[in-house]
Amino acid sequence: MSADFLYLVEVILNGLMAGVMYSLVALGFVLIFKASGIFNYAQGVMALFAALTLVGIQTGQVPFAHLINAIFGTNVHHFGWQVPTVLAIALTVGVMVLFAIIVERYILHHLVNQEPIILFMATIGLAYFMEGFGDIMWGSQIKTMDVGLPSGGSLWLEEYTQGWAAEGERYYGMYLDKLDMVASLVAIVLVVSLTIFSQYTTTGRALRAVADDHQAALSVGISLRTIWVIVWSIAGFVALVAGIMWGAKSGVQFSLSLIALKALPVLMLGGFTSIPGAIIGGLIIGVGEKLFEYAIGPLIGGATENWFAYVLALMFLVFRPQGLFGEKIIERV
């Protein structure tokens, strides 16, 4: 095997794993969209917020320390304790559930019969709000996330593949991030458990009923409000997982919220209503953008990852407007 070929394989594998990360974020979108028809732009910010909260709790930060100091002229920052990771995660999940309840109570409830586009814009507002709120609550400096996930390249893999290339001296083996591999595993577990949840539990079936037909769901006695709280909680949980993965990878900072933007083309490809679509869309985009950068990038100045996903999705959509797995849009006259 030539080194170039191996490099290509490495690019593809990296792409697949990046794709899994995209899928992870996209999953949150799909969940909420399916259950409430809301395109939740705030999903990315939710991931940021969840990660901030987790780090904040873990490191014993005083919430709103910045604000308190500004108002009272004090200088408080930390409680001075460390919270165990598992407990911190549990507390963060609690915060995300609380968040879901607040969102349902104060926003969704008042926007029930609005057009989808209005709801979409409301989530943009929500995203802005949370971004500011998260910063005020936990401060805006970059934080490192340490929940005990492995990091760095996998030396074992590097060594193991080193000999594969024909001209071994020039080839250093495949570089794959351990974190990415863990993330892929976690994502797979998450998808499987979500699928089981939605197929085999009463709540899951209720969720699907609501997705199919609000009226019908109401008539069988499912409270729409409860459903929405559950869905947003799950989405919050997914956001937390995504936040942990991305945060561990590149630090907890503002740019984390932009991963939502990465998830959008994934959704366009996979369709807004399909969980498998989100996964496969994510993989396609992950692989596609890495390959494109690898093959074409150097010719046109690089950094094509910024837009490749979008342009790919755009091209794709022109030919299949409902996405890969989306239901066919039938226009009634």
Binding site: A70, I117, I124, G125, L126, Y310
Partner: protein, 358 residues
């Protein structure tokens, strides 16, 4: 309360369909114009011009443009920043390539170039609707910014990757570059803002505007009536981009003076303009101005109160800005999805009916 409409009757369709059919409104409009053109320039400080008035006018133009697309035609776009960048870079290229060209021509040409680019990116709108389209417009945002950043020809190979506006005059007064006088720059932008508002009003009141709104309200019925959906949407994209291009052009040449594409025309710009029209009012020319005013003034006020008044750190004030903007967007969408303009309309109706409540 202030309206006296008895005897204000119309004998021609021309009078009946004028922009301000009620005399009181008409007078108020002339009053505002007079203040903007005659009074404000007399009292305009540098700070007021640069922090408030000029950005307000530029953003108002951008909001007008986006409103044509989102408010009037119902096509949600998140590509405003990218199109503004096109306008800005077109201006830069034109100014440097044709030093003798006067600024009005430069700006109009920049608008036309952006209109063309906008129409190109509008092509998918025939097939893609709703969120899909909104997301697709993000493609233009990222692609355009990347393109302008990566191709050195666009910034004349400058080492910093920045573009900066050369000095230009109109009627012997410097309006661009570091030595521009704020009053001249303000008036220059004002003329554009007023003229473009007038243009937007004309376009939205007639055949074209009705075809846009028809597409927005019920695209199937619109098609039955003879509206070609592609033409309607493309024209909306083109006109909208024309406005946004001019806004980008003025933003760069008159307001900023120098710009770097990823900083000045990022995705935040797209959202900011979208917020202006949500808060101001979708499908309202007046709303575009109000929304722009709001989004320009709010941070200034916040900064003056929190940082200047209470001595808070600036970053905290900035975070509050996010909270307030986001919160307001949600509140507006819940309470009044048609924004401040609709509130003004309701208030006006109330005043017209005064003392009756309804």
């Amino acid at each position: 309360m202030f309206y006296r409409e008895s005897g204000d009757f119309k004998k021609t369709y021309q009078k009946d369909s004028q922009t301000f059919p009620i005399k009181f409104d008409r007078m108020r409009y002339y009053f505002v114009l007079a203040v903007a053109f005659l009074v404000i320039p007399m009292f305009l400080t540098d700070y007021m011009a640069n922090a408030v008035m000029i950005p307000f006018l530029v953003w108002a133009i951008a909001a007008l443009g986006l409103n044509i697309l989102v408010g009037y035609t119902g096509q949600l776009s998140l590509g405003t920043g990218g199109f503004m960048a096109v306008g800005a870079y077109a201006t830069y290229k034109l100014m440097t390539a044709f030093p003798g060209m006067d600024m009005v021509t430069v700006i109009l040409l920049s608008g036309l170039i952006t209109a063309f680019v906008g129409a190109m990116f509008g092509l998918p709108s025939l097939r893609i609707k709703g969120f899909y389209l909104a997301v697709a417009t993000l493609a233009s945002q990222f692609f355009l910014v990347w393109l302008l950043n990566k191709v050195p020809w666009f910034y004349n190979n400058s080492a910093s990757g920045q573009i900066s506006a050369p000095e230009r005059e109109m009627f012997g007064v410097i309006i661009t570059g570091p030595h521009a006088t704020p009053v001249a720059a303000y008036l220059f932008c004002l003329v554009f803002a007023v003229a473009l508002a007038w243009l937007a009003r004309n376009l939205t009141r007639g055949r074209l505007g009705r075809s846009w709104m028809a597409i927005r309200d019920m695209d199937i019925a619109a098609e039955i009536i003879g509206v070609n959906p592609l033409m309607a949407k493309l024209s909306a994209f083109a006109v909208s981009s024309f406005f946004i291009g001019i806004a980008g052009s003025l933003f760069f040449s008159v307001y900023l003076g120098a710009a770097e594409v990823t900083e000045a025309f990022g995705i935040t710009v797209s959202f900011a303009v979208l917020f202006m029209i949500i808060i101001g009012g979708l499908g309202s020319i007046f709303g575009s101005f109000v929304g722009a005013a709001f989004m320009v003034l709010m941070p200034v006020l916040l900064k003056n109160v929190l940082v200047g008044g209470m001595g808070w750190p600036t970053d905290l004030a900035a975070h509050f800005e996010y909270i307030i903007v986001g919160g307001l967007i949600i509140i507006f969408l819940i309470v009044e999805p048609h924004g401040l303009a609709q509130m003004a309309r309701v208030l006006k109706e109330k005043l017209r009916l005064w003392p009756f409540p309804h």
